[in-house]
Protein backbone atom coordinates (compact mmCIF):
# COMPACT_ATOMS: atom_id res chain seq x y z
CA UNK A 1 0.00 0.00 0.00
CA UNK A 2 1.34 3.44 -0.81
CA UNK A 3 2.48 5.66 2.03
CA UNK A 4 0.77 8.98 2.63
CA UNK A 5 1.88 11.75 4.91
CA UNK A 6 0.17 14.63 6.63
CA UNK A 7 1.49 17.53 8.69
CA UNK A 8 -0.38 19.28 11.45
CA UNK A 9 0.66 22.45 13.26
CA UNK A 10 -0.02 22.84 16.96
CA UNK A 11 0.21 26.37 18.37
CA UNK A 12 1.87 26.26 21.79
CA UNK A 13 1.78 29.83 23.05
CA UNK A 14 1.09 33.44 22.19
CA UNK A 15 4.69 33.91 21.08
CA UNK A 16 3.82 31.80 18.05
CA UNK A 17 5.89 28.73 18.94
CA UNK A 18 4.57 25.57 17.32
CA UNK A 19 4.81 21.83 17.29
CA UNK A 20 4.82 20.43 13.78
CA UNK A 21 3.62 16.83 13.74
CA UNK A 22 4.15 14.68 10.69
CA UNK A 23 2.28 11.41 10.31
CA UNK A 24 3.16 8.77 7.74
CA UNK A 25 0.46 6.23 7.06
CA UNK A 26 0.20 3.02 5.17
CA UNK A 27 -3.50 2.64 4.51
CA UNK A 28 -5.23 3.56 7.72
CA UNK A 29 -2.40 2.81 10.12
CA UNK A 30 0.24 5.27 11.23
CA UNK A 31 3.66 3.70 10.61
CA UNK A 32 5.85 6.64 11.55
CA UNK A 33 5.49 10.08 13.07
CA UNK A 34 7.68 12.98 14.06
CA UNK A 35 7.19 15.84 16.48
CA UNK A 36 9.20 18.97 15.77
CA UNK A 37 9.39 22.01 18.05
CA UNK A 38 9.60 25.28 16.15
CA UNK A 39 10.29 28.58 17.85
CA UNK A 40 8.96 31.86 16.53
CA UNK A 41 12.04 34.09 16.42
CA UNK A 42 11.32 37.60 15.13
CA UNK A 43 8.32 36.40 13.13
CA UNK A 44 10.10 33.42 11.56
CA UNK A 45 9.35 29.85 12.61
CA UNK A 46 12.68 28.09 13.14
CA UNK A 47 13.14 24.35 13.67
CA UNK A 48 14.77 23.70 17.02
CA UNK A 49 14.46 20.00 17.84
CA UNK A 50 12.70 17.00 16.34
CA UNK A 51 11.67 13.64 17.74
CA UNK A 52 11.35 10.96 15.09
CA UNK A 53 9.46 7.77 15.88
CA UNK A 54 9.06 4.60 13.89
CA UNK A 55 8.43 1.04 15.09
CA UNK A 56 11.18 0.06 17.54
CA UNK A 57 13.29 3.07 16.63
CA UNK A 58 13.22 6.61 17.95
CA UNK A 59 15.69 9.45 18.13
CA UNK A 60 16.01 13.17 18.79
CA UNK A 61 17.55 15.55 16.25
CA UNK A 62 19.05 18.80 17.47
CA UNK A 63 18.92 21.40 14.68
CA UNK A 64 21.06 24.40 13.90
CA UNK A 65 20.10 27.86 12.71
CA UNK A 66 20.19 26.76 9.07
CA UNK A 67 17.87 23.79 9.64
CA UNK A 68 20.63 21.16 9.56
CA UNK A 69 20.77 18.33 12.07
CA UNK A 70 23.81 18.81 14.28
CA UNK A 71 23.22 15.94 16.69
CA UNK A 72 21.25 12.71 16.59
CA UNK A 73 20.44 11.38 20.05
CA UNK A 74 18.96 7.88 20.08
CA UNK A 75 16.19 7.13 22.51
CA UNK A 76 16.08 3.77 24.33
CA UNK A 77 15.77 0.97 21.74
CA UNK A 78 12.77 -1.24 20.90
CA UNK A 79 10.14 1.14 22.22
CA UNK A 80 6.60 0.79 21.03
CA UNK A 81 4.85 3.91 19.75
CA UNK A 82 3.18 4.84 22.98
CA UNK A 83 6.36 4.49 25.03
CA UNK A 84 8.34 6.47 22.47
CA UNK A 85 5.67 9.15 22.40
CA UNK A 86 5.59 9.39 26.19
CA UNK A 87 9.37 9.72 26.39
CA UNK A 88 9.46 12.35 23.66
CA UNK A 89 6.62 14.42 25.09
CA UNK A 90 8.03 14.32 28.61
CA UNK A 91 11.45 15.33 27.29
CA UNK A 92 10.00 18.19 25.28
CA UNK A 93 7.63 19.43 27.98
CA UNK A 94 10.50 19.49 30.48
CA UNK A 95 13.27 20.79 28.26
CA UNK A 96 11.70 22.87 25.49
CA UNK A 97 12.90 26.09 27.07
CA UNK A 98 16.49 24.77 27.31
CA UNK A 99 16.37 23.61 23.70
CA UNK A 100 15.11 27.06 22.72
CA UNK A 101 17.82 28.84 24.70
CA UNK A 102 20.55 26.60 23.27
CA UNK A 103 19.20 27.23 19.77
CA UNK A 104 19.33 30.98 20.29
CA UNK A 105 22.93 30.66 21.45
CA UNK A 106 23.73 29.02 18.09
CA UNK A 107 22.43 32.05 16.22
CA UNK A 108 25.13 33.20 13.79
Amino acid sequence: MPETSKEILRPLNEFGDMLRIRFVREGKAVIRFAVQYEANIDGVLRRVVRFDMAHGFAHRDDIDWNGNTIAKVPMPGHLDYNDALTLAINDLATNWYRYRAAFLERQP
Binding site: I8, P11, D17, L19, A29, V35, Y37, N82, L85, A101
Partner: protein
Protein backbone atom coordinates in the same frame (compact mmCIF):
# COMPACT_ATOMS: atom_id res chain seq x y z
CA UNK B 1 10.61 45.04 21.13
CA UNK B 2 10.01 41.54 22.54
CA UNK B 3 13.01 40.02 24.29
CA UNK B 4 13.19 36.60 22.65
CA UNK B 5 15.38 35.29 25.46
CA UNK B 6 12.77 35.85 28.16
CA UNK B 7 9.65 33.73 28.50
CA UNK B 8 7.19 34.84 31.17
CA UNK B 9 6.05 32.20 33.67
CA UNK B 10 2.50 31.98 32.27
CA UNK B 11 3.75 31.36 28.74
CA UNK B 12 6.23 28.80 30.02
CA UNK B 13 3.53 26.97 31.96
CA UNK B 14 1.02 26.98 29.10
CA UNK B 15 3.65 25.86 26.60
CA UNK B 16 4.53 22.85 28.72
CA UNK B 17 0.86 22.03 29.18
CA UNK B 18 0.23 22.35 25.46
CA UNK B 19 3.11 20.00 24.71
CA UNK B 20 1.66 17.39 27.06
CA UNK B 21 -1.79 17.94 25.58
CA UNK B 22 -0.31 17.32 22.15
CA UNK B 23 0.93 13.99 23.46
CA UNK B 24 -2.64 13.06 24.34
CA UNK B 25 -3.79 14.19 20.90
CA UNK B 26 -1.17 12.05 19.15
CA UNK B 27 -2.08 9.07 21.34
CA UNK B 28 -5.70 9.46 20.25
CA UNK B 29 -4.62 9.50 16.62
CA UNK B 30 -2.50 6.40 17.06
CA UNK B 31 -5.52 4.66 18.53
CA UNK B 32 -7.99 6.11 15.99
CA UNK B 33 -6.13 7.04 12.79
CA UNK B 34 -9.47 8.02 11.17
CA UNK B 35 -9.14 11.33 13.05
CA UNK B 36 -6.48 12.34 10.54
CA UNK B 37 -8.91 11.92 7.65
CA UNK B 38 -10.91 14.91 8.86
CA UNK B 39 -7.92 17.21 9.25
CA UNK B 40 -6.53 18.87 6.12
CA UNK B 41 -2.79 18.73 5.45
CA UNK B 42 -0.95 21.73 6.99
CA UNK B 43 -3.95 22.61 9.15
CA UNK B 44 -3.38 24.31 12.47
CA UNK B 45 -5.12 22.37 15.20
CA UNK B 46 -6.09 24.04 18.44
CA UNK B 47 -6.76 21.58 21.23
CA UNK B 48 -9.36 22.11 23.91
CA UNK B 49 -8.96 19.91 26.99
CA UNK B 50 -12.14 19.26 28.97
CA UNK B 51 -10.12 18.79 32.18
CA UNK B 52 -8.04 22.00 32.03
CA UNK B 53 -10.31 25.06 31.64
CA UNK B 54 -7.40 27.46 32.09
CA UNK B 55 -5.52 25.92 29.16
CA UNK B 56 -8.73 25.69 27.12
CA UNK B 57 -9.28 29.41 27.61
CA UNK B 58 -5.64 30.19 26.79
CA UNK B 59 -5.86 28.19 23.58
CA UNK B 60 -9.22 29.73 22.66
CA UNK B 61 -7.70 33.19 22.89
CA UNK B 62 -5.11 32.27 20.27
CA UNK B 63 -7.72 31.34 17.67
CA UNK B 64 -8.87 34.78 16.42
CA UNK B 65 -5.31 35.95 15.75
CA UNK B 66 -4.55 32.70 13.91
CA UNK B 67 -7.70 33.07 11.80
CA UNK B 68 -6.78 36.71 11.09
CA UNK B 69 -3.44 35.48 9.76
CA UNK B 70 -5.45 33.38 7.28
CA UNK B 71 -4.34 30.14 8.86
CA UNK B 72 -6.62 27.10 8.41
CA UNK B 73 -7.68 26.65 12.04
CA UNK B 74 -9.41 23.51 13.27
CA UNK B 75 -10.52 22.85 16.81
CA UNK B 76 -10.24 19.39 18.35
CA UNK B 77 -11.79 18.51 21.69
CA UNK B 78 -9.45 16.09 23.44
CA UNK B 79 -11.04 12.93 24.90
CA UNK B 80 -14.24 13.54 22.95
CA UNK B 81 -16.89 10.83 22.97
CA UNK B 82 -16.44 8.48 20.07
CA UNK B 83 -19.24 7.04 17.94
CA UNK B 84 -20.48 3.69 19.23
CA UNK B 85 -19.37 1.81 16.14
CA UNK B 86 -15.99 2.12 14.47
CA UNK B 87 -17.78 1.88 11.11
CA UNK B 88 -19.14 5.33 11.83
CA UNK B 89 -15.71 6.85 12.37
CA UNK B 90 -15.21 7.94 8.74
CA UNK B 91 -18.40 10.05 8.91
CA UNK B 92 -17.72 11.56 12.34
CA UNK B 93 -16.78 15.24 12.55
CA UNK B 94 -13.66 15.03 14.72
CA UNK B 95 -12.77 18.70 14.35
CA UNK B 96 -14.54 21.99 13.79
CA UNK B 97 -13.10 24.64 11.56
CA UNK B 98 -12.69 28.05 13.19
CA UNK B 99 -12.80 31.33 11.33
CA UNK B 100 -13.53 34.95 12.13
CA UNK B 101 -16.88 36.26 10.97
CA UNK B 102 -16.83 39.13 8.48
CA UNK B 103 -20.36 40.56 8.49
CA UNK B 104 -21.41 42.77 5.62
CA UNK B 105 -24.64 44.06 4.17
CA UNK B 106 -26.19 42.15 1.26
CA UNK B 107 -26.41 43.84 -2.14
CA UNK B 108 -30.13 44.39 -1.59
CA UNK B 109 -32.06 44.45 1.66
CA UNK B 110 -35.71 43.36 1.62
CA UNK B 111 -35.59 42.35 -2.07
CA UNK B 112 -39.20 41.26 -2.25
CA UNK B 113 -42.54 42.56 -1.12
CA UNK B 114 -43.17 41.62 2.49
CA UNK B 115 -39.53 40.81 3.17
CA UNK B 116 -39.14 43.54 5.79
CA UNK B 117 -40.26 42.00 9.06
CA UNK B 118 -40.15 43.91 12.34
CA UNK B 119 -40.95 42.30 15.68
CA UNK B 120 -41.00 44.10 19.02
CA UNK B 121 -40.69 41.89 22.09
CA UNK B 122 -42.26 43.96 24.84
CA UNK B 123 -41.10 41.80 27.75
CA UNK B 124 -37.47 41.89 26.61
CA UNK B 125 -37.67 45.41 25.12
CA UNK B 126 -35.93 44.06 22.01
CA UNK B 127 -36.60 45.10 18.44
CA UNK B 128 -35.83 42.53 15.75
CA UNK B 129 -35.52 43.61 12.13
CA UNK B 130 -35.40 40.92 9.46
CA UNK B 131 -34.74 41.83 5.81
CA UNK B 132 -35.68 38.47 4.33
CA UNK B 133 -39.12 37.73 5.71
CA UNK B 134 -37.87 35.05 8.12
CA UNK B 135 -36.64 32.87 5.25
CA UNK B 136 -33.01 33.01 6.40
CA UNK B 137 -32.42 32.07 10.02
CA UNK B 138 -29.07 33.60 10.84
CA UNK B 139 -26.71 33.26 13.76
CA UNK B 140 -27.04 36.00 16.38
CA UNK B 141 -23.73 37.80 16.96
CA UNK B 142 -23.37 40.53 19.58
CA UNK B 143 -22.25 43.74 17.89
CA UNK B 144 -21.91 47.20 19.38
CA UNK B 145 -23.31 47.94 22.83
CA UNK B 146 -26.95 46.92 23.01
CA UNK B 147 -27.13 45.57 19.47
CA UNK B 148 -26.62 42.29 17.68
CA UNK B 149 -26.47 41.15 14.07
CA UNK B 150 -28.16 38.20 12.42
CA UNK B 151 -25.57 36.69 10.11
CA UNK B 152 -25.91 33.98 7.49
CA UNK B 153 -22.64 32.01 7.69
CA UNK B 154 -23.56 30.02 4.59
CA UNK B 155 -23.72 33.21 2.52
CA UNK B 156 -20.31 34.74 3.29
CA UNK B 157 -21.55 36.24 6.56
CA UNK B 158 -24.25 38.41 5.00
CA UNK B 159 -26.29 40.42 7.46
CA UNK B 160 -29.89 39.26 7.24
CA UNK B 161 -31.19 41.31 10.16
CA UNK B 162 -30.36 42.83 13.48
CA UNK B 163 -31.51 43.36 17.05
CA UNK B 164 -31.67 46.48 19.13
CA UNK B 165 -31.83 45.74 22.84
CA UNK B 166 -33.16 48.15 25.48
CA UNK B 167 -35.05 49.56 22.53
CA UNK B 168 -37.48 51.91 24.28
CA UNK B 169 -35.51 52.36 27.51
CA UNK B 170 -32.32 53.50 25.75
CA UNK B 171 -32.05 53.31 21.95
CA UNK B 172 -35.26 55.11 20.98
CA UNK B 173 -34.50 57.92 23.42
CA UNK B 174 -31.11 58.45 21.81
CA UNK B 175 -32.53 58.14 18.29
CA UNK B 176 -36.23 59.16 18.48
CA UNK B 177 -36.68 58.58 14.75
CA UNK B 178 -36.57 54.84 15.53
CA UNK B 179 -39.79 55.00 17.50
CA UNK B 180 -41.91 55.10 14.36
CA UNK B 181 -40.51 51.66 13.53
CA UNK B 182 -42.96 50.32 16.08
CA UNK B 183 -45.81 51.25 13.76
CA UNK B 184 -44.72 48.50 11.38
CA UNK B 185 -43.84 46.04 14.14
CA UNK B 186 -45.56 42.87 15.18
CA UNK B 187 -45.83 42.85 18.97
CA UNK B 188 -45.01 39.42 20.40
CA UNK B 189 -42.30 37.35 22.12
CA UNK B 190 -39.33 36.35 20.00
CA UNK B 191 -38.87 32.62 19.61
CA UNK B 192 -35.60 30.87 20.41
CA UNK B 193 -34.98 30.39 16.67
CA UNK B 194 -35.61 34.04 15.95
CA UNK B 195 -33.09 35.03 18.62
CA UNK B 196 -30.43 33.11 16.69
CA UNK B 197 -28.80 31.71 19.79
CA UNK B 198 -28.69 35.01 21.67
CA UNK B 199 -29.91 35.50 25.22
CA UNK B 200 -30.87 39.17 25.66
CA UNK B 201 -30.28 40.62 29.11
CA UNK B 202 -33.43 41.12 31.17
CA UNK B 203 -35.19 44.41 30.51
CA UNK B 204 -35.85 46.81 33.40
CA UNK B 205 -39.43 47.24 34.47
CA UNK B 206 -41.31 49.67 32.23
CA UNK B 207 -41.43 53.10 33.85
CA UNK B 208 -38.80 52.17 36.43
CA UNK B 209 -39.13 50.78 39.94
CA UNK B 210 -42.06 52.91 41.02
CA UNK B 211 -45.53 52.12 42.22
CA UNK B 212 -48.38 52.06 39.77
CA UNK B 213 -49.71 55.26 41.34
CA UNK B 214 -46.38 57.02 40.85
CA UNK B 215 -46.27 55.92 37.23
CA UNK B 216 -49.86 57.12 36.66
CA UNK B 217 -49.00 60.47 38.24
CA UNK B 218 -45.98 60.81 36.01
CA UNK B 219 -48.09 60.08 32.92
CA UNK B 220 -50.60 62.71 33.98
CA UNK B 221 -47.79 65.26 34.34
CA UNK B 222 -46.40 64.37 30.90
CA UNK B 223 -49.84 64.88 29.37
CA UNK B 224 -50.17 68.34 30.98
CA UNK B 225 -46.75 69.35 29.64
CA UNK B 226 -47.58 68.06 26.18
CA UNK B 227 -50.88 69.94 26.01
CA UNK B 228 -49.78 73.14 27.75
Amino acid sequence: MTDIYVIDPLTAEMTARNIRLTGRFIAEILETPEILDGIPDDATVVLLPPDDPELAQYNSHMMPALADAEVDVHVFMVDQVRPDLSQWYPNHHWTQQFRNLEPHWPATVAPGSGDLQVIYDRERDVLRVDFFGGRRLGIGVPWRTGTALLIDPDANDEIVGYFIGHFLEVAAQRAPQLITTLRMAEFRSLTVEELGGLVPPPAPEAGGNRTEQEKAGSLATEFDQLTA
